[in-house]
């Protein structure tokens, strides 16, 4: 799987309240509507700056805080193809895989705002086309890749009649 887009840079400890505020997630059920408010407390009108396929690039502990699955959903529906971070918070990590949002764990230090990136997920390589550099991506366990490839956990469950775990 190859993904391409430009980098939207954030710092460390981006919490789920910043990704999608409680004042929206409690009253809006449509993920396309939620996507219009993604990251807005950090960058007003963020969703307007996203071109389909772009990446969110962050530091450590991306997605810390609440269990809201609206966080990866809002990111996905805003057109982001993957989130790149040095590390992810536990619940967000699971929620992203389950909703079919690709996460790429890698050293994001050298990536600047709007750098053009290409991720070859199969090879585990991220190409920074702007800086002409290669970054290694930490591979996901196979069963998580299966869930992602199936489009999320519900789709995976339906397709296989349960977890395809350890096979």
């Amino acid at each position: 799987m190859k993904l391409q887009g430009k980098a939207h840079k954030f710092g460390s400890d981006v919490n789920t309240d910043y990704i999608i505020s409680g004042r929206y997630k409690f009253k809006i059920q449509d993920p396309r509507e939620l996507a219009k408010h993604v990251m807005e407390d950090l960058v007003p009108d963020f969703y307007k700056k996203v071109t389909k396929g772009d990446f969110i690039v962050a530091g450590n502990n991306f997605g810390c805080g609440s269990s809201r699955e609206q966080a990866p959903l809002a990111i996905k529906y805003a057109g982001i193809s993957a989130v790149l971070a040095k590390s992810f918070a536990r619940i967000f990590f699971r929620n992203a895989i389950n909703t079919g949002l690709m996460l790429l764990e890698c050293n994001t230090d050298g990536i600047s705002k709007y750098d053009v990136l290409e991720a070859d997920v199969g090879k585990g390589i991220l190409y920074n086309k702007t800086k002409k550099k290669e970054i290694k991506i930490k591979p996901l366990p196979d069963f998580m890749l299966k869930i992602l490839n199936d489009g999320g956990l519900v789709e995976h469950f339906k397709k296989h009649g349960g977890f395809k775990f350890g096979s």
Partner: protein
Amino acid sequence: MSKTVAEKILSKHAGKDLTAGDYALCKVDFCMSQDGTSGLVIDALNKLGAKKLVAKNKFCMVIDHSAPAPNIGVSAIHDKMRKFAKKNKLKLHDIGCGVCHQVVLESGNVLPGNLVVGADSHTCTYGALGALTTGFGSTDLAIALASGKNWFKVPETVKIILDGKLPKGVYSKDIILDIIGDLGADGCTYMAVEFTGNVIKALSVDARFTISNMAIEMGAKCGIMYPDEKVLNWLKARGKRIKTTVLPDKNAKYASIKRYNVSKLLPKIAKPHTVDNVTDVTKLAGKKINQAFIGTCTNGRMEDFKITAKILKGKSISKDVRMIIAPASKDIFTKAIARGFIEIFVKAGANVVTPGCGPCVGTHNGVPADGENVISTANRNFKGRMGNPKAFIYLASPATVAASALTGKITDPRRYV
């Protein structure tokens, strides 16, 4: 091989021997979702087309985060939950029952050694009873509900030993704020934490919940304590007689062991906009506040109200402060009325709101204005958390919040208790 509590509980629920780093499918003992997450749980179940829900009798939904409904969007979500519960004969705790975590705890559905998942990040609260309890997203919860199982990564464990004796006016909230300030917001990411030591033994079960509740604020998967007589009595009062508990093996392998001595601990406060931005209350003393909030799954219990009542009794809060108090459950509300606490709060000038999450998540019950400072007993102070990204949230113990409400400024509570 010697095991930690998390390794033992997950091994038992997987039916095979597991150690840190393993992945396994495990049976769950209980599941919960609330009004912020149930909508997506229902959507996932509908998409799954599950004919029967394996964990149906081990599940409840709670309407607490935004209850009673403040707008049409929320009332539509509540309506969806009620209809789904009725159709599938599921347990639903409606508005006014309280915060999901307190409701689940009081229901006696969490026992030592259990594996419990909840579609709310503060599900780690129940770890104080010696169970592995952790937050899930909605889809994960739906899968657990439909199949009775989900996948787990066996976490490494950090052991935190608390020595010494808490000084007067310093509480379990101050302990956990101090630890989070030290270890950081990602200090225990994906780890289990075992809290132990003389200090834990001396704390009430209520006070222990405060510590386990905030384990997630340093990224932990769960915050486990070893059940003792106090826990067994707490469960007995809820109709559960427990004979066996899960303790770590003597030579269990820990990722790290940390020791804290609390004997000289000062009242702590987390400054905006991160929970690990912790300092001494004395360093911020005198800073003007506009709103004070006591409640939540962190600090809305009887012991918290007893401390608050002692400070507020016969006094009036500052005329420049709005004070909001939300009991963590209907049971607590009822007991607080019987003990005369609610009358003390109201006479002092506080607003007592429906048992539930209160203004913690920014949907209702006291959204602050631009530039305002809020002091709160909650567990999160992220920018925008209480509904306004231009407000500033400080987190502290009920004593610090109550003392600050009296003076209108951030106040060291020690001379008020």
